[in-house]
Each structure stands twice: as C-alpha cells, then as structure tokens.
C-alpha cells in the first residue's frame, strides 16, 4: 500500500510526462541526467530544493520510472511506500537499468501515439459544409483579370473555395494565381496552369481548415492569360463591383486534404503589400555567377552594392542566381541602367528550380532614352517553392557597361476590389440570368432554343484529378471531389425521396421527356417553427432544376405546414430568383407578392399559372420535392423522425396536386 505522498508541483510534472525517479537517501545520482529526482521529505516525494506545499497521493496507475537505492534493504524500505510495480535499481550500476527503463517508456509512449493516430485516421472524415454559394450570372461582364474579393467573413474554418471559369483556358501557358489571405497572412495559395483551367467550377482546397482568427478572409486573384487565350472567370452579378461567382466551404478541425496546385511554400507567410519588392538576400548575390562579361559589385556610400557588368562589343553575358525561395512572390523584377555605351539589350528568365524547361522569358529589351530598363516577368508555377533567375545582356553596337539596380522578386499590384458575395447587389441589367453552378459556360447556353440546348448536367464539369498522400485523402476523397460540381452532402434527385441518383458523367442532351426531374443542389435558407408549433417551414434554395420541359438555374421555395395544411410558397422579392414567366396571382403582404399552392384546393392555385413553362416548373418542383424536403431537414439537423415527417409532407403535397390535376381527391 502506498503511503508516500507526492508534492502537487511534482505530481503535475509527472502527469505531464516528465520522467521521474525516486532516490533513496544516500544514493549518489550521476549528473547530467534529464530526469527529475524525487526525494522523500517528511513523507512527501519532492524535487530537491522544492518549497514545501500541498501534497497528494499518487493517482491510480501512475508511478515513478524507478526507485534508486544503494542496497536491497533501503530499496525494500522505500519501495514499500511507493506505488506497486515501481522498478528497483540498486547501487552504482543503476545507469544501464535506468537506460533500459527509459527505452521501454519511450516505446510505450510511441505505441500509444501510434494507436491514437490510427484511431484518428479511422474516424469518419469531417465533411465540409458549404457556407457561400454564388453561382455565375449569365450575361455579366467577366471580372478583371486581377482582383481582390473579400469573402465578408473570417477565414477561420474555411477548407476550400471554388471559382467559376466562364471560359476555359486554351493555352497551357495561361495561369491562375489565387491567394486566400486573412490578417495579412496567407491561409491558402494556389497556382493553376492553363491545362487545369477548363470551364466550370474550379475547386481550390486548403490542406487543412484555416486557423481561428477574426480577420476577414480575402481572395487575391490574378488570371494571366497567354496571348490569344480568352480564359475568363465568371462574375456572380452583373454590376461594376460584382463579386466573383464562388463557393466557400468550411470544415471542422481535423479535416485534411492534399490539394492540387497548392503553393505550399506560400502558406502561412506574411504577405507583403501589393507591389512590394522582395530584395534578394546578400547570400544570393554572393553565389551569383557571371559568364561572358566582367562583373563587380560597387556601393556608393551606405547604399546596397549594385552589380556592374561590362561587355565587350558583340558579347553576350549571363548572370545566374542560385535557387531562391519565392514564397508568395508573383513577379521577377529587373531594373537596369545602361551606364556606358549604346545598343545593349537585356532579357530576364525565370523557372522553377531544376525545371528549366518550364522557364518564362522576357523578350530582349532595349533601354529607354534615359538609359533605364525595367522588366517585370510573371513567375511560372514553382511547386518546389524555389525559383531560378537569369539575366542575359548583349551589346551588338560596341562595348557597354550595364548596372543592375535591382534583381528581385516582387508582389503584383492589388486588383480591383469587388463586393463581398453577401452584400446586396444592384438590380441586374435586363437579360442577365443566374446560372446554375456547374453548368456550361454562358456561351453554350441559348435561351432561345432551350430544347436543343446541349448542357453539361450537374456533376459533369470536368475536374482535375486529385492526388496526394493517401493518408490525407482517405475517407474524404469522394466528398471533396464532389465539391467541384455539387455540394458535399449526399446528392439526391428524382422523385424517389432519399434515394441517391447518379448524375450524368458527360455533357448530355436536355432530358428525355420521360426522364424524371432532377436538381443539382439544394441549400437550406431557413428552418422555422413558430412558438405554438402550429406553423413550420423549410426555406430552400435549389440550383440546377432540370426537367424535360425546362431548365431553371435557380429556384427558391418554402415548404410549409400550417395546422396540417402543407403547401409551397414562392415570393417575388429581393433574394429570390425570377422563376416564373408570368407572376401567378395577385396576393401580396408586407414583404411583397407571393404565390402558394397548398394541399387543400390546389387546382385554384394551379389555374393561376399562365404559361406551360411555369406549370412545368411547379410539376418539376413537386417531382423532386420529397428529396428537397429530406435534404433540407437533414441540413437543419432535424431528428430522423422529423426528416421523415418533412418527406411525408412533401409526398402528400405532390400527391394532392397530382390528384387535383387528374380531377380526383386523394
């Protein structure tokens, strides 16, 4: 039975994993050991020179690493007062035994850690949740190639974003650079080459959700189109400060991804101001090599030394810098002065370290009338995080002396600042139509001939293959891939409530007349239950509703239950899409016009639908309504029974309307 206590501070250290041994009186302890040595002091184990204070019994299962005693008697006397099983090491030869015990303790600790890792890896992947979804607006002018897009929310928890390309890149040399910035720090950075820029949604995942913090998340976007490439992003509205069409997802801590195109080297870096120059470290100059000319670095006064390169007539000189970490830099910058001679030219090249074939080159550039020359060369993607720079000089006309004032990496200029996606937009211009996410580029849509329209059905947007360590993607890959064209929740469509329906994998002709209606995505706007429990609704936003008779890029509706009467409500107000060709009925309240179809007397409401297209809309909605209801109820985190109840309400309404159309009551 343990009768010795342990000091509170010593116990805390022991609980924190500090290796501790107990030493009997008279025991000589070798110096230099990274061990805490406890001594019995008036019945309490304390560290040497510890201040007497609170003492506690040993918690169950906890014991010192060993008891060190000079002889068996002393060991037995003290060992009886320690937790059972405390190993006893005797005499001057304690060290080998102690080392062995430490090794065993380390092995146990590693085994526990590995087991924990296995358990964590076995956990179901935390699903990301879409928190912003702004589809592209057809007819809206493409955003400028360089822009700043505030997200109107902190970056904390963001696990991925997606941008929409109205026009895909046709030239692999085109490049999209995106940074997610919060509080001046890079939370995510991606460099996507033209080959990975097809039209449609482009998912940009973070390796892990952005860390906590209140700073607003801002996207910095730069789209560098190669000559002749019309690649363009999509806007989410049609006004001058329209936000990008974009999606934002967040995920709980522990979510992991191995995102393609991620600039790992830029992550978590403090972001310099737009336009800032990042001078080369002195070491980079020291390792520079020059061939074909004579070079010297000269400083006048306290300034930084500048490189001077002297060329003989007709010579070409090359200045090569060793690989440089490029971090968040976007540009290679060179500023040169022709100090003597005339007719000299300069060219700058940049390439990812060890991959010269991927180099970007400026053309040969001449000096201006003042003898100055400035080159800003967009950097190529550098997945390795390092870049090589080469400056070439030639002089055909005669001897020349060129001064390199600056050879540096730099930040691009800040782009146009856009409105956050949540801010109210000005009314769109006539003709602008909200597009469903994941659909083809606006150029492929012809409202005048919807029946012959070839559209990529939801989920069919070409996507870049995902790659990365299996440990990161295990259990999450399928859901993350879905982010490219559809939400992370299980996709449901068709008339069979709750049944997942596989989406077409390739662009397809508009649906066959007999094909069931389907939708791409549904988001929960609101779940409301009044205090008395007599009224409840699910406010749902549907994107990509497809039926044989039409395609509705956005639909919003409320499925409600008012004292057992189930109905659908549609509104004409800000935040609601234009769904009807002709607004049905004339009812309105304080929030504006609304139209309802209810399980009681649906025929009267249906009679207010003025066009076949509008009637087709309601039929399509009713067809998918059980699936919508279940998805909405799931999103509202309702219990399974309540989810089922909403599905039943949806089925009931659909049945009532169907019966009404057939001229009979259910």
């Amino acid at each position: 039975m343990t009768t010795l206590l342990i000091g509170a501070a010593e116990l805390a250290a022991l609980l924190a994993g500090t290796p501790m041994v107990v030493s009997a009186p008279g025991m000589a302890i070798p110096e230099g050991l990274c061990l805490a040595i406890l001594h019995p002091v008036e019945g309490v184990l304390r560290l040497p020179d510890a201040v007497p204070g609170t003492a506690r019994p040993f918690p169950a299962g906890l014991r010192p690493l060993a008891l060190l005693a000079p002889d068996p008697e002393a060991g037995a006397a003290l060992g009886a007062l320690l937790p059972p099983g405390t190993p006893l090491l005797l005499g001057e030869t304690a060290m080998p035994g102690l080392a062995s015990l430490l090794a065993e303790a380390l092995a146990r600790s590693e085994a526990v850690r590995a087991a924990l890792n296995r358990r964590l890896a076995g956990q179901p992947a935390a699903l990301p949740k879409r928190v912003t979804d702004l589809p592209p607006m057809e007819g809206a002018a493409p955003p400028p190639p360089r822009l700043v897009q505030p997200l109107g929310r902190p970056a904390a928890g963001i696990s991925g974003i997606a941008l929409h390309l109205a026009v895909g890149a046709t030239d692999p040399a085109s490049l999209l650079r995106v940074r997610l910035v919060a509080g001046g720090r890079v939370a995510g950075a991606w460099t996507v080459p033209g080959a990975a820029l097809p039209p449609g949604w482009l998912a940009l995942d973070l390796p892990e959700p952005a860390p906590p913090g209140a700073a607003e998340a801002v996207l910095e976007v730069a789209l560098e189109a190669a000559a002749g490439d019309a690649v363009a992003l999509s806007a989410g509205a049609a006004d001058a400060t329209a936000p990008l069409a974009l999606r934002v997802e967040e995920a709980p801590p522990g979510h992991r991804a191995a995102p393609p195109h991620c600039d790992w080297a830029a992550l978590d870096m403090l972001l310099p101001e737009p336009g800032a120059t990042l001078p080369l470290a002195e070491g980079a100059w020291a390792e520079a090599t020059v061939t074909g000319g004579r070079a010297e670095r000269v400083a006048a006064g306290a300034e930084a030394a500048r490189m001077l390169l002297a060329l003989e007539p007709g010579a070409e000189a090359t200045l090569d810098l060793a690989a440089l970490p490029c971090g968040p830099a976007e540009l290679a910058l060179a500023t040169c002065h022709l100090r003597l001679g005339d007719g000299a030219e300069v060219a700058l090249s940049a390439w990812p370290a060890a991959e010269e074939a991927a180099a970007r080159h400026s053309l040969w550039r001449g000096f201006d009338a003042e003898g100055a020359l400035r080159i800003a060369l967009p950097l190529p993607p550098a997945p390795c995080g390092a870049i090589r720079l080469r400056l070439r000089l030639r002089s055909d006309a005669g001897a020349a002396l060129v001064e390199v004032e600056r050879l540096a990496l730099g930040m691009g200029l800040a782009g146009d600042r856009r409105r956050p996606p949540q801010e109210v937009a000005p009314p769109p211009p006539k003709g602008a139509v909200r597009m469903a996410p994941g659909l083809a580029a606006p150029a492929a849509v012809s409202p005048a001939a919807p029946g012959r329209l070839s559209v990529a059905l939801p989920g069919s947007t070409p996507t870049a293959p995902r790659s990365g360590p299996a440990a990161f993607t295990a259990g999450a890959g399928a859901e993350r891939a879905a982010f490219r064209a559809s939400p992370p929740q299980p996709r449901l469509a068709g008339g069979d409530a709750g049944a997942p329906v596989a989406m077409a994998a390739q662009p397809t002709e508009l649906r066959h007349p007999d094909a069931p209606a389907a939708f791409q995505d549904v988001g929960l706007q609101q779940h409301l239950v009044n205090a008395e429990g007599t009224y409840r609704h699910l406010d749902l936003a549907v994107t990509g509703l497809v039926a044989a008779a039409g395609l509705w890029r956005q639909v919003r509706l409320k499925l409600f239950d008012r004292r057992g009467t189930v109905g659908l409500e549609f509104r004409a107000m800000k935040g609601w899409p234009q769904m009807f060709d002709v607004w049905p009925g004339a009812r309105q309240d304080n929030f504006g016009p609304f139209w309802r179809v209810e399980s009681e007397a649906p025929a009267e409401a249906l009679g207010q639908l003025a066009t076949p297209h509008d009637r087709a809309l309601i039929l399509a909605v009713l067809e998918v309504l059980p699936a919508l209801a279940r998805r909405g109820a799931m999103a509202a985190s309702l219990a399974a029974a309540e989810q089922e109840a909403w599905t039943d309400r949806a089925r009931a309404l659909a049945t009532a309307v169907s019966a009404s159309r057939a001229g009979s009551r259910p």
Partner: protein, 379 residues
C-alpha cells in the same frame, strides 16, 4: 565569386577661380552626394570656399571644405604643374576612394587628372563646357599621362560630350550625358512680384520688361545688350557681374531713354524670372544653361541664340541669330504671340519638371560606380 567594394569617401576637386553656374552646380552636387552616406570633401582655391559654402543647399549634409591650390585659368601654362603638386597633399588630406572633377573647361583639370591616374584612384570628370574646334594643345600633350580609359566621363549636354570626346580621343558613347537639374517650379503668385519689381524700376505695372541674367561677358552675349535695348524700346534689366560690367554701366548711363538697366549681381534672381516678360539668352557658347532652366521653371519665356540652346530640345525657346536686330525682333514677336508663347512656356515647364535632382543623383551615383569599375579594369 564576384568582387564587391564600397566607396566611402569622395573628393570633389573644383579647379575654378571664379564663381558661376559650374561652381553652383558643383556645390549642390557635393552636398547631395553626401545624403547616401558618402563622406564628401569639396576642394577648391581658398578664395572660392566662402562662395561655395554660401551655395550649399539647405537640408543636406555639408561637405568638408578644403583649400587647395588647384585653380586654373585659360592660358595659365603653370596650372597643370600646380595642380599635380597640390594633388598629393589633397589626396593625403581627403584619403578618397573616388574623385569627381567638375571642369569649367575641358583642359581645366589636366594636372589633377594626371595625379589621380598615377594614384590609380577611381575618377569621374564632369564637363560643363566645350567649344567647337580642335583640341586644346594642353590636352593633346597630357593624354598619355591621364589614362583616359581608366576614367569615367560625364557631360551636362550631348554637344559638350561630343566635343570633349573628340578632344580626349574617346568614342562619343564613352561620355555619359547627365542633364542639369532645374529648380522646382514657383509656388507664388507672380502678379505682386511683377508689380513690385516694376515699381522698383519706376515702371508702370503693365510695362513690358526683358531680363538678362548671367555673367557679363562676351561668351554670354552681354556685349549685345545695349543695342538690343535700343532696338527694342522696352526696359531691359541686366543682372550679373563680369568683365563687361563697366562697359554696360557706361552704356546705360548714356542711354537717354533709360531702357538699359544694369542691376549688378543679385543673390536671389528668381523673382526677376517671375517679373520679366522675356528672358534674353544671347550666348555664343553654353553647356546646359541653368538660367534657361530657372526661367522654364518660373514660366518665363526665353529668346535665345541657337548656341545657347544647343544642349536642349528644340521648341523650348524662340531662337534668333546672335545679333541685336534678330534678337530684338524675336523678343517683339514673342510678345505679340500670346498663344504661341503660352505653348512654348508649357513645353519648357515640362522639360524643367523632367530635370529633377532626384533623377540626376541616380545618374551621378551610377557614374561613381562606373568610375570604380573602370579604374579597377585599367589597373
């Protein structure tokens, strides 16, 4: 590994014996070069030092002023030897890493050039003026000793650079042209200044006024001023001093209409650019005339000879032949052409605005670096 060096001490050796635009420029340049951590010594004849000190711009580190017998005058055959003799003490006192030689005339610093070449010191010559014609005999005689290839060269205008290159046997591109800076534009309302200065001359507020500002010598065309005033029939003020001062004073006294007014040297002539309707620049030889740049900054139109403006772009002044009738006629034409004059003022202002000290200093520091590299390669 690429060699690296730092220039810490600069010697500006000015071989002038009288004070003018070259010397004012040298004082300002010496002070401004000190802003980037260069320790600057400005050496000149003892009599020049007070004038140089007065010309130092405010707000810049004052260079160390050092008296040295390095003055040069045209026709002074002993100047070169005197400069060489003074140079050793100068180099010992200043211990420079690099030297700058502002030269009022191409052969004004041959003794200094030779001494600096013998010391293998990086050196930069700054040529302010060079006349058309054959190389001065002194230059031809000194050429082997001054090691022109190991020197950096600069000039205030392309014509000066071209002529000097010929004198020293250099390719034209070997001499860098660095534009003289212009003062910042006037911030004050010219109307009260115009009225006050006319009152000081006893003129009506709307009386036309022509100004000459510069050294009173034949090279500046000062000898033409009495005849120009006589033909113009408007008041012509002359600001400056020089060998023709007595002659001009006498002519002014003899002028029964009082059209020619000799005001002598004025420490701060800028208000006269604001007050005058025209600046007259009848020079027979100029490098890059500072008075033109001052007039351009102040919005004062200029009538000049082609020689005066040869280092500047065309269209910045009304050009006339260097004779009284042509110059007087050009002044009258300018006064009669309000629209054309306004356009010309605008072009001149733009040129002045382009010529800032900030731009020039970048070029000057660049040439000091070039000097370091050329001296090294020559060695």
């Amino acid at each position: 590994m690429i060699a690296s060096r730092r220039l810490g001490r600069l010697l500006v050796a000015l071989p002038s014996i009288r004070f003018g635009g070259t010397e004012r420029h040298a004082a300002e340049l010496a002070a401004r070069l000190g802003t980037t951590g260069l320790s600057v010594t400005l050496a000149a004849e003892p009599a020049m030092l007070p004038l140089l000190e007065e010309a130092l711009p405010a707000g810049f580190p004052a260079p160390r002023l050092l008296a040295a017998g390095i003055g040069w005058a045209e026709g002074d055959g002993a100047a070169e030897a005197r400069q060489r003799a003074a140079a050793s003490a100068l180099l010992a006192a200043a211990a420079p890493d690099v030297a700058l030689l502002p030269l009022p005339w191409p052969d004004a610093g041959l003794g200094l050039m030779r001494a600096l070449a013998e010391a293998r010191l990086p050196r930069l010559a700054l040529l302010h003026l060079a006349a058309e014609g054959p190389a001065p005999d002194a230059i031809a005689a000194s050429l082997p000793g001054i090691a022109v290839d190991g020197m950096a060269w600069s000039a205030v205008s392309a014509p000066v650079a071209r002529r000097a290159a010929g004198f020293f046997g250099l390719p034209p591109s070997r001499i860098a042209v660095i534009d003289n800076p212009a003062p910042p534009p006037a911030a004050q309302d010219p109307a009260p200044v115009r009225a006050a200065l006319r009152r000081s001359l006893g003129l009506r507020g709307d009386a036309p006024l022509v100004a000459f500002i510069g050294r009173l010598e034949e090279a500046k065309g000062a000898d033409l001023l009495p005849a120009i005033a006589d033909r113009l029939g408007v008041t012509l003020v002359c600001i400056g001093d020089g060998p023709l001062r007595g002659y001009l004073d006498a002519q002014a006294l003899a002028d029964p209409r009082g059209m020619l007014r000799i005001l002598g040297p004025i420490a701060e002539p800028l208000p006269w650019y604001l007050a005058a309707d025209v600046l007259l620049l009848p020079s027979r030889l100029e490098g890059a005339p500072l008075v033109f740049l001052e007039a351009a900054s102040m919005g004062c139109p200029v009538v000049a000879t082609a020689a005066a403006m040869e280092g500047l772009a065309p269209g910045l002044a009304r050009i006339a032949a260097p004779e009284p009738a042509a110059l007087a006629g050009a002044v009258q034409a300018l006064l009669a052409d309000a629209a054309g004059t306004a356009a010309m003022i605008g072009r001149a202002r733009a040129e002045a605005a382009r010529r800032s000290w900030e731009r020039a200093m970048e070029a000057w520091r660049g040439q000091l670096r070039v000097a370091a590299m050329l001296a090294e390669s020559a060695a």
